[in-house]
């Protein structure tokens, strides 16, 4: 039996490491559910908990993964989330390189949808990058993105809970102005989303902190490139001001597939695999598991307003919701570096 945190969450196995902490698959003994849980060592555990509580009540959006439960023990906080089993956009880029334009447009559309809700709730995510854009295992169907890892998110217009002079985020996706300690603002998330779009279009992360070239690289759709270029403008004043504006620009390209349509992959056979098995890992399944299919399973308890079709995973995807593996890409070295940073 694994270690039990706060008398309730049995730690089963680590499934990744993200901003500020390690992600575990845990068995919630009270609810008898398998969940993803992030363990964060934090001096200001009380403040962090307050924030998590706010976050979970303020952001309810089908394209986000927000903390649902929490527990504290000594100087460590554990918070639980749905498990999203299809890996992340990081994995998709690793496996397929540059994505077809309709896939990139479809994924960005969902990301902007999520950011709109997050910003409306007065929160800035601050760590928008491919590894934090989790995917439901939809196979060859329409992809379903969920913005995750609010570990370093902050509320706007409130006393900071983090120490002053903190520079947060991930190099390459962090808006240049954040290096100078500016207040958190939605346009910083739009910068990260613009970089993600450029990376989805080219298969490579663009060089740090510089404007994207005016001319789209060979083979890249010019209309989408212009959207990326505008969102990832080093000057925050020249970016779209809101996620809604960016989304409008995106839709004007005419490349966002209508809802429920599977984006055309032009023969690239793009597929979102199942990265975390639905029956948990190394543990007896707490309840009978439906037969695995590459497509999305409907939620265990469908919410009354959930529309049919690919939109269904909304709030409670599956009894064994799973958080995607994070930071698998560059292997152990990166994880060790991350841990050193966290403990440092």
């Amino acid at each position: 039996m694994g270690e039990v945190f706060a008398g309730r969450y049995e730690l089963l196995e680590p499934i990744g490491s993200g901003g500020m902490g390690t992600v575990w698959l845990v068995h919630d003994r009270r609810d008898d559910e398998i969940r993803a849980a992030k363990l964060v060592r934090q001096v200001d555990a009380a403040l962090l908990l307050r924030f998590i509580r706010e976050l979970s009540t303020r952001v309810e959006h089908p394209h986000t993964v927000v903390p649902r439960g929490w527990a504290g023990e000594d100087d460590t906080v554990l918070f639980t989330m749905d498990v999203v089993r299809g890996g992340s956009v990081h994995h998709l880029l690793e496996d397929f390189g540059a994505l077809p334009p309709a896939w990139a447009a479809c994924l960005l559309d969902q990301l902007l949808d999520a950011l709109e809700a997050v910003h409306e709730a007065g929160i800035v995510h601050r760590d928008v990058k491919p590894a934090n854009l989790l995917l439901e295992p939809t196979g060859r169907g329409r992809p379903y993105l969920r913005l995750s890892d609010f570990g370093v998110a902050v509320p706007m217009h409130e006393p900071r809970m983090t120490a002053p002079a903190v520079v947060l985020g991930t190099r390459g996706y962090r808006a240049p102005e954040t290096a100078f300690g500016v207040d958190p603002l939605p346009v910083q998330d739009l910068y990260g989303a613009g970089v993600v779009l450029a990376e989805m279009l080219t298969g490579e992360r663009p060089p740090d902190g510089r404007a994207l070239p005016a001319v789209a690289p060979p083979g890249v759709d010019r209309r989408l490139w212009d959207v990326a270029r505008s969102m990832a403008n080093p000057d925050p004043a020249l970016r779209p001001a809101t996620a809604a504006q960016a989304r409008k620009m995106l839709h004007e390209t005419g490349l966002v597939p209508p809802s429920t349509f599977v984006p055309d992959d032009g023969g690239a056979q793009v597929e979102v695999f199942e990265h975390v098995r639905a029956d948990g890992v190394g543990v007896p399944s707490p309840r009978p598991t439906p037969e695995l299919t590459p497509s999305l399973r409907p939620p265990a308890t469908p919410s009354p307003v959930a529309p049919a079709g690919p939109g269904t995973p909304a709030r409670r995807p599956a009894p064994l919701a799973v958080l995607g593996l994070l930071s698998v890409g560059a292997g152990g070295v990166v994880i060790v570096v991350a841990l050193l940073m966290l403990l440092g």
């Binding site: 990081h90 690793e94 990058k129 006393p159 947060l168 985020g169 056979q269 695999f273 292997g331």
Partner: protein
């Protein structure tokens, strides 16, 4: 998914890559002493994708960067097999080609130094007092005083 397509896929792989990918990957893993998961991580590809390719459920490696990393791995395996280099050196050479670190960083001012500075000028009780005085007009400054002066 499985079934008759697999053999056709493996033939297509042999035409593209010289041999079916399952054979190539297995040889690399055996010679270098790596698990399938380590092979996937070293190639910068997801484990499910690697297993689809190795099983012949999918023909082509989508990401061109992965093809060149697989070539490098195959060359390294051959160098080990022929005794030109050791396993350890070969693996170390492959690992250094890994992708850039994309890790959330958390650069934090040294809070203890700031606290020391505050405490040199007053006691916790004094900062608590001061915080209470300004709390109504300047709640953020009050929070700052409490954070660094009072509750240490």
């Amino acid at each position: 998914m499985s079934g008759p397509d697999v053999e056709a896929n493996q033939r297509a792989q042999a035409a593209l890559y010289g041999e079916p990918l399952g054979v190539i990957v297995r040889r690399c893993a055996d010679v270098l002493g790596l698990t399938q998961a380590r092979v996937a991580a070293t190639l910068g590809i997801s484990a499910p994708m690697l297993s689809q390719l190795a099983n012949g459920h999918r023909v082509k490696i989508g990401n061109p960067a992965v093809v060149s990393r697989l070539q490098a791995m195959y060359a390294a395996a051959q160098a080990v097999a022929s005794g030109e280099t050791t396993r350890e050196d070969a693996i170390a050479g492959l690992a250094s080609q890994g992708g850039a670190a994309v890790v959330t960083s958390w650069t934090k001012a040294d809070a203890s130094a700031v606290r020391a500075l505050f405490r040199a000028e007053g006691t916790a009780a004094e900062y608590e007092d001061a915080a209470a005085l300004v709390a109504d007009a300047h709640p953020q400054i009050a929070a700052l005083l409490r954070r660094y002066g009072a509750d240490g």
